[in-house]
């Protein structure tokens, strides 16, 4: 199995994060400061919920959650792989659907959603078929130029920065904070991908995931603060605040950055979809070892088809697909690895006759 470095893993996760951050749609009663606090608190929670994953990596010598579950029993392994597979299909469905939906909003409504979904899925399948090491190398380049582009976007605007727009003048602070934490956790589906990609990591899972969470804190804070202080209350009115920020930003050479936004967004979406496809491929391999190896290629057809039908019926924006994601993320990132550790410990004890 080809392995990837910590930097490559962090880059993959950053690409997934950017894709999520760029498609953030604010609520009418959002408050930037509370949103920022909720994001930072969620990152604290994430630092805790990934501990079982890191422990499991150490105990199983980097074999991964599903393999460790299969080592215990075939039923446990099948259940784990089925759970991860379903969530990965959900990630792919939301990724392709959001991409087609927002591309129409930001770029051109002249392109039909199915056309966008087909081309995007083909590209994602191609990147996924190249293997994890190629995808990871691409992710490093994409993450680097995306960060560079965001810095350009953030420095290229007119007017004064006044950090005093970050205020607490809202009713129901506690409920807004709680909602923010739940939302932020719901948008952290890249942690599930991290759980599935762990066997590909060369070493140091703890250092890798905490580096990522640190980078996530900095990037999320920078983007939320920038949107709040530059766009002000207009951020609530805009459908995609980050896109509005890019369209507002300009410098002496580039008139506006919305095309940049699209470029970063497409590349980050591609990395996320490709990595998800790799995870789907692995899950299918565990679940159906005798099935054809290219079975995973059907998953984009299934996910894109469903997403495009919903978009065509004008139903895409009426559903909150991430409403219950946080529960599944906690189950797949914390509960399942914890259960596998506990089961392995028990087996170890029973094998040694409880002599421990």
């Amino acid at each position: 199995m080809k392995k990837i470095t910590s930097v490559q893993m962090v880059s993959i996760l950053i690409c997934c994060l950017f894709y999520t951050l760029m498609k953030y749609v604010p609520s009418d009663d959002d408050n930037a400061l509370l949103l920022l606090c909720s994001r930072l608190l969620t990152l604290g929670i994430q630092c805790i919920i990934v501990i079982p994953l890191i422990k499991l990596y150490g105990k199983t010598d980097g074999t991964g959650v599903i393999q460790a579950a299969f080592a215990k029993s075939r039923t446990a392994g099948s259940a784990a792989s089925a759970g991860y597979l379903l969530f990965c299909l959900f990630i792919l469905f939301v990724t392709v659907g959001d991409f087609a939906f927002f591309l129409q909003y930001t770029f051109s409504s002249a392109y039909s959603e199915w056309a966008v979904a087909i081309v995007f899925s083909l590209a994602a399948v191609y990147v996924a078929s190249m293997g994890i090491s190629s995808g990871a190398r691409t992710a490093v380049v994409v993450a680097f130029i995306t960060i560079l582009g965001i810095v350009l976007v953030l420095i290229g605007f007119r007017g004064n920065i006044d950090f005093r727009v970050l205020n607490l003048a809202v009713e129901n602070k506690e409920s807004l904070l709680a909602r923010g934490i739940s939302q932020s956790l719901s948008f952290s589906d890249e942690l599930v991908l991290f759980a599935l990609l762990l066997p590909y990591l060369k070493s140091k899972p703890g250092k890798t995931v905490y580096s990522y969470i640190g980078a996530k804190a900095v990037l999320s804070a920078a983007i939320i603060i920038s949107i709040a202080v530059i766009l002000g209350d207009f951020a609530i009115d805009s459908k995609l605040p980050f896109f509005a920020l890019s369209a507002y930003s300009k410098n002496g050479i580039i008139e506006r950055f919305d095309a940049f936004f699209l470029m970063f967004w497409v590349m980050c979406a591609l990395i996320k979809a490709a990595v998800t496809l790799m995870c789907i491929s692995d899950c299918l391999g565990f679940l159906f070892p005798r099935a054809p190896k290219k079975l995973w290629m059907l998953s984009p057809v299934l996910c894109s088809g469903t997403a495009v039908i919903l978009i065509a019926l004008d139903k895409w924006s009426s559903y909150d697909f991430n409403a219950f994601s946080s529960i599944f993320i906690i189950i797949l990132v914390t509960a399942v690895p914890l259960l596998v550790i506990v089961l392995n410990k028990r087996r170890g004890r029973s094998k040694s006759g409880g002599a421990e």
Partner: protein, 396 residues
Amino acid sequence: MKRWFLWLTIFALILIAFDNRESVEISERALVHAVGIDQSEEGVTVTLQIFKAGGSGSDTQIDLSKPNIFVISNTAPSFDEAMEKCESQMGKYLFIGHNQIIVLGSDASFDDPDKLLGYFIKNKDNYLGVPVVMAENTAKEIMEVQLTGRAIASENFTDVIEMYYQNGETVFSDMLHFINSIKSVDKSAVLPVVSIKQLSAGEQSGQSSDGSSQSESGSQQQSSQGSQSGSSASEQLITIEKSAVIGGGEFKGFINSDEIKGLNWLTDHMKETVINIASEEENTGVTVKKRNVKDKLVIRDNRLVYTADIDVDILTDTGILPGIGETTLKKLVTTKIEQDCTSAIDTAFYRYNSDCFDIAQLIKFYYPQIYLDYSDNYDALKETIDFEINVNCYIK
């Protein structure tokens, strides 16, 4: 596998390219350079400056000897309908992404910003940094002015506004800033007021002898206008001498150039300006540059006190100002800036009852609970606000 996959992707892209029947070619688009909006009992009058390529004989489509724009105007019950009429009459799709300026007529209604600028807010091509200004009379009148010096009038327009702003002589008003201001709790905003200045024959000849750049622009003006709309148009200039104050979603009145400077100092939009100081029977222009502006809100004797500490550098050499010592110069500049700020506060805040200093934002930050308690009755809270201005000058 890789090769057939590549072919499949290419084939899909070709199919999509053929499928895209709604695509609009560049030749089917009309590039909007400036938009004027007037409101009357008949509805909304939209006046557009459209880029017109007509460079016969030249290397590019832009012919510098002609104003490469034409003006189209339509009236309809709503803004969107008026735009649609313009589109139909031209037989081209309007492209708003290159728009340089939005001019609102003096009779525009500001109570519903979404209705006023909704077309621009929802149009993803629109640039949020486009300047929004108010016409002294009608926007249509401003749109039809043929400006000097450039082939495209609206480009000159934005240069004029930018230069006024850089010199501290007008307020900062791009679309994003304007929408945020007009949607604030007090629905207050300030807009630069654009008016047409008719140059007399004497002034024109005076300008020609003033310097080479002026005469050059004059000659371009003559050539461009001569072919377009007669010689009278060449005598027009765009000026910004006052700003319009909007409070509670309606137009309240104007503030003059000194008050604009005061407003710019207080809102930290002043970079550098020339201020006029009166000393011993003569007026002297002094260049001052912002060093630092700090404003905050404190509670003193059960009243909210807005304090602004303005530090400025005086760039004018005292050596060329005989009879004025450094101390006197500092005192005169301090007095003048304080006067401008006080005058801006008196007119905009007290007379027009408009929170164009965005004190609501400061209350939200420093005293959020007070803001929440008074959010339904902000006018009552405004009555408890006092101002304290401190100016410090440094000679540089």
